[in-house]
């Protein structure tokens, strides 16, 4: 082994970023750019009822979301960058055409313990 991580300069451009946490009680709108890439969306009844009259992209999102879809999947479905998908989804959520299911994290910004335990159980059962 000729290479050692300690023997090289620190990674270039190391930006120090304060640890982000979904702080308890932080007020914010869903329409913000904080909607994470794994956020799940599901179509509401109202959204499904109104889908036929929607612009094609909005309609495609709502109709695909009869099954839960992540923001990442919406982006892939439409072939648009995540940022574009986020705007489209936020607009639909603001009108209650979509429900958004956000990750559940503790005050340390990490998934809560009981979720990790369920994840572990699920993986072991595979």
């Amino acid at each position: 082994m000729s290479v050692d991580r300690r023997q090289r300069p620190q990674a270039e451009g190391g930006r120090v970023v304060p640890n982000y946490a979904f702080t308890a009680g932080r007020t914010r709108s869903l329409a913000g750019s904080d909607m994470p890439i794994e956020a799940l969306v599901t179509a509401t009844e109202m959204g499904l009822a109104k889908a036929p009259g929607m612009p094609p992209e909005a309609r495609a999102i709502v109709e695909a979301s009869t099954e839960p879809q992540s923001l990442a999947e919406i982006g892939a479905l439409l072939g648009v960058p995540i940022g574009v998908a986020r705007v489209l989804v936020s607009d639909l959520a603001a009108e209650d055409h979509l429900a958004v299911h956000l990750p559940l994290v503790g005050t340390d910004g990490r998934p809560r313990r009981e979720l990790l335990e369920r994840l572990l159980d699920g993986l072991r059962a595979r």
Binding site: D4, T42, T44
Partner: protein, 203 residues
């Protein structure tokens, strides 16, 4: 009206849910990091219940003008492709795996990806071990749980795990697994070790 939620749930999540819709859907994510060609897409494909999808993330950054000292730093937008897969864990948990480009110039993207993640699998090709240093630096600095996964490329077997940990400058006993990124069971094992590690570190 106290707006403090003990569980820190991010935002007012499920407004306007159709009657009968599942209210308790919860996404989780794990990052798959490592250098070029180390097997990220292969691992995501082995685990995902759908063929890996690709999505694009646009990054705005300041170009540093290193190529030409006369250039005034300017804002540039770069598009980075990222592939991901999906694993349904139970009736409400859905796990997403994101294969992330391993270079530190993508750290802007990693910051968003790492937020709220369970942790990361850092794939290592022992023939090009330094390709994973940026990823390990990053996850260590951010305190994100990670597992080192040595990918089974030809000619990489028989290496002592402790020597690898030493070369990676991770502590003795740091979670390390041997994977064949093409094999579902092997990749699942890596995720299990990661989640066990994350649980051991959680309060």
């Amino acid at each position: 009206m106290d707006s403090v939620h003990a569980d820190g749930r991010a935002g007012t999540a499920t407004t306007g849910v159709a009657p009968g819709a599942r209210r308790d859907l919860l996404p989780l994510k794990i990052l798959v990091a490592g250098g070029f060609g180390v097997g990220k897409t292969t691992l995501v494909a082995a685990l995902s219940e759908v063929p890996p999808l690709s999505t694009e993330q646009q990054m705005t950054s300041l170009s540093d003008g290193v190529d030409d000292a006369s250039i005034v730093p300017e804002k540039t937008t770069t598009t980075v492709a990222m592939d991901f897969g999906r694993v349904t864990i139970d009736d409400s948990l859905v796990l997403y795996l994101f294969g992330t480009p391993g270079q530190s110039r993508f750290w802007f993207m990693w910051d968003e990806l790492a937020r709220g993640a369970v942790g990361a699998v850092v794939l290592v090709d022992l023939r090009r071990i330094d390709d994973c240093f940026a990823a390990i630096d990053y996850f260590e600095n951010r305190g994100l749980p990670f597992v080192v996964a040595l990918n089974a490329f030809p000619g990489t077997d028989g290496v002592d795990d402790d020597l690898v940990r030493d070369a990676l400058a991770v502590p003795p006993g740091h979670p390390l697994v041997h994977v064949d990124a093409r094999d579902d069971a092997s990749c699942t094992r890596a995720l299990i070790v990661l989640v066990e590690h994350a649980l051991a570190r959680s309060t």
